[in-house]
């Protein structure tokens, strides 16, 4: 074999190796299951036990919230009679929590209430701040309640103008008042929306109930948080997207991340127009793994941000509208829902690259390889001319 031909073959092999390294890495692919992380399939008995435990926890939370509402009634009535703004507060704490903690929590809650502009609200709010690390379950044989259970008892036919929020606080680090205010503000959840704009009209109420109030989880129309929330757990500016986290979302949420307005619309309006066969659920257990159940990336602050942008009056008209949700929301936003949502999503994350588009680094590598090949050919051609 001629020496020159060997050089050509070696060059082609090296070029193929470089391309293979660039393109054949497992980027974007889910890691294969190994013996270490593979979970054994639960038995039927275990599945049944889990189901029963879930039912027990739901019943336990319902009872707890109903008891809290009854305990808060005298304070709620007193505030109503005297037009006193702010929520009624109940602090559940073990003896190890200092006595002045209640005053700290009350002050922080008043600050949050004022910053959210809630004032004397038509729907009164009762807040239970729970400092117990492990909630008491009555007996040792009862299923364990997950620590940090968040729950809401929304206004219902028996009490149309009271919303109860249960906020866990065992992880609060003493001294960080701003952090406490952030937690309390976030913990008010849908109750803050009810306090500011009342009970939503039927279409919005059905839509929100269907989605477990995921878009109204945090009243974000107040001041900016001390820590600016970002979806940084989904991407790192240096290493790129965490594909497992991305593909843990529904397809509409992924499409919305990629800048597709129609997908954004689908992600936001999921559940709108669906009917409930029975009465609306009044108990909301927010102790969910939000990174698994998120229907829209950062969706927990969506309606709060809508309210901040469109203002009180327009949001009130949307919230209380009898029109279908998509019509009411588009009217409030003064633009199509998908278009506004796509722009909103860009505040937290850059556009997700989907499809066959080559990454920038790969394009540069390809151009360099092509240029090198052209240069080599030109050099060989020049040598032959001399000979």
């Amino acid at each position: 074999m001629a020496r020159e031909l060997r050089w050509w073959l070696a060059g082609a092999f090296v070029a193929c190796a470089i391309v293979a390294v660039g393109y054949l890495s497992p980027r974007g692919a889910a890691p294969a299951a190994t013996a270490r992380n593979r979970q054994p399939q639960p038995t039927a008995a275990r599945l049944r036990a889990r189901g029963l435990a879930e039912q027990w926890r739901a019943a336990d939370l319902a009872v707890r919230l109903a008891v809290y509402r009854r305990r808060l009634e005298p304070e709620l009535a007193r505030r109503r009679a005297t037009d006193q703004p702010g929520p009624a507060l109940l602090v559940e704490a073990p003896d190890s929590v200092p006595v002045h903690t209640r005053a700290l929590v009350a002050a922080a809650l008043d600050t949050v209430w004022r910053e959210l502009g809630l004032g004397v609200s038509k729907v009164a709010v009762g807040v239970v701040v729970d400092f117990w690390r492990f909630p008491r379950t009555g007996t040792d044989s009862s299923p364990k309640v997950p620590s940090g259970s968040v729950g809401y008892l929304l206004p219902d036919s028996t009490d149309r103008a009271t919303c109860i929020a249960l906020i866990p606080a065992w992880y609060w680090t003493r001294g960080l008042t701003r952090q406490l205010e952030d937690w309390l503000g976030g913990g008010l959840g849908p109750c803050a929306f009810f306090a500011r704009w009342g009970v939503p009209g039927t279409p919005v109420r059905l839509w929100m109930a269907r989605r477990h109030y995921d878009l109204a989880s945090v009243p974000s129309w107040g001041r900016e948080w001390s820590h600016q929330p970002e979806a940084s757990w989904m991407m790192d500016r240096n290493t790129g997207w965490f594909w497992v986290a991305v593909y843990g979302h529904p397809i509409a949420a992924i499409g919305c991340l990629a800048g597709r307005a129609q997908s954004c619309r689908t992600a936001v309006l999921a559940g709108a127009g669906d009917a409930f066969g029975d009465s609306l659920p009044r108990l909301l257990d927010a102790t969910v793994r939000w990174w698994r159940d998120e229907r829209l990336v950062q969706g927990w602050r969506y309606l709060g941000d809508v309210a901040r942008e469109v203002g009180y009056d327009r949001f009130l008209r949307f919230w209380n509208s009898t029109e279908p949700v998509d019509t009411a929301l588009a009217t409030a936003l003064k633009m199509p829902v998908g278009k506004w949502t796509e722009r909103w999503e860009r505040r937290f994350l850059p556009r997700l690259p989907l499809g066959a588009a080559a990454p920038f680094s790969a394009a540069v590598l390809g151009i360099l390889l092509g240029g090198a090949a052209v240069a080599l050919v030109a050099r060989g051609a020049m040598r032959r001319q001399v000979g």
Binding site: D83, V123, T158, R160, G198, T202, N320
Partner: protein, 150 residues
């Protein structure tokens, strides 16, 4: 007014008012009471009639509430309903228990009133419909008045 009629209506309201007792006292309810008193006063001006009973409650948009009352034959009754500042339309309807409407006021503001002099002593249904409420729930009030016999 016949004492039996008064007692019957009062008992009916007392039994049904328990569910709203807890909600008494906020400024929207006080506003409703004031409006109710004003509306009743304008209907009853100078006649010296009596307010038999009052019921206060709250409803979301498009919801309704009804109460069944025993009414005496040949006794004139005035039913007055009013709602808070966030409510822009309230309806009041009076019917028999077979749902035959006897008197209706589909008001386009936050007060409604109907008059009825039953021909027979029986139970009648009074229905309040919250047609439009800007900020749910809206408080409403219902009062039953009996003008003095001429």
């Amino acid at each position: 007014m016949k004492p039996r009629a008064v007692v019957g209506v009062v008992l009916a309201f007392t039994a049904l008012a328990a569910s709203v007792a807890r909600a008494q006292g906020d400024r929207w309810e006080r506003e409703v009471r004031t409006q109710l008193g004003r509306a009743a006063g304008s209907l009853d001006r100078g006649l010296g009639g009596s307010s038999v009973a009052t019921r206060i409650g709250m409803l979301n948009t498009a919801e309704s509430d009804s109460v069944v009352l025993p009414l005496q034959a040949q006794t004139a009754y005035i039913f007055v309903a009013a709602c808070d500042e966030d409510c822009s339309s309230l309806s009041l309807a009076l019917s028999d228990l077979k749902s035959h409407d006897l008197a209706v006021d589909r008001a386009t503001d936050h007060a409604a009133a109907v008059r009825l002099t039953p021909v027979a002593t029986a139970s009648y249904r009074v229905r309040v419909v919250m047609e439009a409420c800007l900020k749910n729930p809206c408080r409403y009030g219902l009062a039953v008045l009996t003008p003095p016999a001429p």
